[in-house]
Subunit: 303 residues, 4 copies
């Protein structure tokens, strides 16, 4: 028997469960003022960005995550011109946004300049040069502080934040207070999307309270899902708006919109749209049983 | 820091990836003439049945797997009276079938009498007494041999087999020749469903050839999916028939049918139906690129 | 490549180091009022007794541990008649003691009756029937309480205790107060031996304070060592007495004494004696730098 | 509970046993024409050099390994002037040799120039500048080829080779044919030492045949041992000569010789000398049962 691989990245999802990824090469390891950063090449998923011990995205399947996060709110909005991205340091959200001819301005607010720098250098297949798009303005700041002082409003806001781990940089960006600020910064017909934790029945401690919290600020709030192989779980997203409902968008409308984009999509299309918004009964019922609302004084943290 | 758990079941999905499950208690370990059997209590998923090193189902989420396997073909068939189950040793497929008042006869063919015995003893929440249903006949035999000599035909056939690992008992039950036999044993309006490997983009080596092989025998062949937490991946199923198409069944039709059943469902409903049959674009395109057909002389084996 | 083994016992020696043992079969898992007990069959070391997550001894090499613990004090004593064993639930210490024709009485005090029962049932190659020796009296009691009320004295005392983990049953049996009691219960020419933690430079946090503590009660205190494969480390023992020094025993004296025993030894002989008492310079110097003394009010606990 | 460490180097000693080392930082990963090289900083042992998946030495305890390899043959030789080092790329053998005022010439033959370069750069506490010693000549060549054509002879030869893994660079440097060449290149009163695999009873497949093979070429062949924490096992060395026997060297002779060296030792002294050459009975008997001799046509390979 050949000797098993030597180097393993082990990601614990709880004290009783972990995923082992054999590592081909360690590309970068370091700390920023906000988080620990690793960039590694795994055998199965190629290059991976790891923040505070959690895989954020992989070369193999980042398109699934980023297309799921970006296109539902953009397709549903009739004319998205001004877009705000919170987080999104890999540059892949902006890459997807750049495919929309209607977009005139993208503001990206990320707290961690060093992570963005590392992504520019080490993750070229993620950003594909989108950091150089003329429409993009990158601001290194705490998103909450920035938005409290921001006067502009946006057609679409996309929140691509790390999970709110104990001492991580994002735990005050998942609260009712923060979502109220987002609500104010959205144009009347605006649409918000965000990554919102696993939708696995075994890891359903993050998504339901985020959804409940959004419910207290927005008229329409829809959970949706995509399986991300490098996460080893089905992932949850949420779309929130006043009046714009993804459930009333037809397959063919999605397909038509997508055809008009500059650049092909790999994950998202009309059939995909229909699938990701149709949640299984067990997940829906579990979410209904959860009544938690996240507030500044009662923040959420994950393992 | 508290010491981490001591006992781990490690399931490799490839030489470069593995999932670690902390084990609370080892309930049973042994070998039958056909496979190695373990029954363990994990912290995350409770009791698990493990055959040849692969988790087959867990107390926590076996209902997802079994409802996904059973209800689509049963709902689509207008009057399922005679049902054949291939494999299904846990007794959970028959538990779901027993909810249909129309069913008059269930024939279950499993090669491994000892596994069935162990499931009866150790997995009571799976079978819930369904082995004692008057309509059930259990036959311990090689399914291929049994079906070659079987004269009856069935309204619905459900194939709940272990994956075709190298020296496992099921590798000749995934071939074109075997599916032809199933085709002959199905009534004209009959429907077949089967578990058919992962639908993760990272593990898409089993599902596409099974689907291609069914395509060569059946008029309508539809892949569908469900996320099974204890598998750490999205799982694939296939429904095959002549003329009956799950894509033309409406949400409300599914909900109405389910309401008429004896016993509640936890995973499946009309919205779920719509979701599981809507595959993402990347998965569809990857399947179209795969042209393999499985034959007795070229069987498929998984890691 | 063949799939790696499925079941692993992982023993952490610190948060940053662990040993993985592939398990062939889980024989017993349970809890007594004092500790968690596992008996497992590993591929490399055969059957292992595991208490509170730490391998105590294995079928493969328990003779090394038990011969090292028993024979140095027994050989050095000119006429050992009355022997006290503290702990020693496997029955292997008494098995070794039974080889001495001079021994008239063995008193074994173990707190955990259930562990002794399990060892009798599952570890027959350890005790080899020694529990039935007429000279043996087994008392199930807290050793400290027993000794505080005990009037008899002993020629040799052998302490075979689990390591003093946080909430384990033995942490008050490694203190200066307890060693004073042992000192009182030893005959004037008596000899004490005890297992005393790893002697690896990387795990030298237990042995030196035990040794220092004994130094405060006994005239002669000698550390000695044996490599125990299933511990993956070199193990430390201590011999303590008033006047009897193992360093002045010649090789040939040891060999002669051993020849007169009933039953062969596998690990210990004159050359071994010379080797185990000769410590490397780095270990000696590290012990000299450590000044800790263990007291009831400042007990020692290990990871 | 704090999350466990993320990055682990896992070293398998067999398919059923492994050691997990938590890694703080990956310093270097690459391949030379001869082997795969990793330099990593572990939490427990600091910096480690890893060749073909096996830890060669660590900052924490390399002095144990290198003092054990170098000083016994150097102390036993009355006037070592010319020394040959085979392998020894870390520069730590030469560092120890440089402490001997009698040494006039050190020839080091290592096949892998890149490894030596990496050690110079990344392992400064190993070599401590010894590569710049005027007496040292470094030759990058296959040791066997070099010695077949070499006319000079040596007082001491030290073989510090990687273990003979399947396709590794050293498997023809452990054969009877090669030891005959060494024998010819030794001066009449010369002494040879070599690292020679684990002396654990659980890993005793390498040392005995090496020893048997040396027995066929040298008059005096002595196994000795040292526990190396980062190997998690007791390690074996062999000293071979014609007429010079370490067993007849007294403690005080060793201590006197060591005092005359330039530079302190940390592991080795007279008591250590006595301990390392005194093998336990079980190891001696196991070696006597092994009759294998390694020849070019029947090379030895380890897991």
């Amino acid at each position: 028997m050949a000797a098993p691989e030597w180097n393993w990245f082990i990601e614990y999802s709880s004290p009783h469960q972990a995923h082992m990824h054999a590592v081909e090469k360690y590309i970068y390891q370091g700390s920023t003022p906000y988080q620990q950063v690793q960039i590694v090449d795994t055998y199965t998923f190629g290059r991976c960005l790891i923040l505070d011990g959690k895989i954020q995205s992989s070369a193999f399947d980042e398109y699934i995550y980023h297309e799921a996060l970006v296109h539902p709110p953009m397709i549903i909005h009739p004319d998205p011109r001004r877009v705000l991205v919170i987080g999104g340091g890999e540059g892949a959200v902006t890459r997807e946004l750049a495919k929309y001819p209607s977009v005139e301005k993208i503001v990206m607010v990320d707290i961690d300049e060093q992570v963005v720098k590392l992504c520019r250098e080490y993750l070229p297949t993620w950003h594909q040069g989108s950091f150089d798009d003329d429409r993009l303005e990158v601001i290194f700041a705490d998103a909450r502080e920035f938005l409290e002082n921001c006067q502009t409003s946006f057609d679409v806001i996309i929140s691509d934040l790390t999970e709110p781990v104990g001492n991580g940089p994002s735990y005050l960006l998942f609260t009712r207070e923060f979502y109220s600020i987002l609500n104010e910064r959205l144009d009347k017909g605006g649409v918000l999307s965000l990554q919102a934790g696993s939708l696995s029945m075994a890891l359903l401690d993050v998504h339901p309270p985020i959804r409940n919290t959004l419910d207290s600020c927005f008229e329409i709030v829809r959970s949706y899902q995509a399986f991300i192989p490098c996460f080893d779980t089905i992932w949850g997203f949420i779309l929130a708006s006043h009046g714009k409902d993804p459930l009333s968008v037809t397959r063919s409308k999605v397909d038509t919109e997508i055809e008009s984009l500059k650049g092909k999509l790999k994950f998202y299309d009309g059939e995909t749209h229909q699938g990701v918004f149709a949640l299984p009964r067990n997940v829906k019922e579990a979410m209904q049983r959860d009544r938690r609302i996240i507030e500044d004084g009662r923040p959420l943290t994950v393992y």
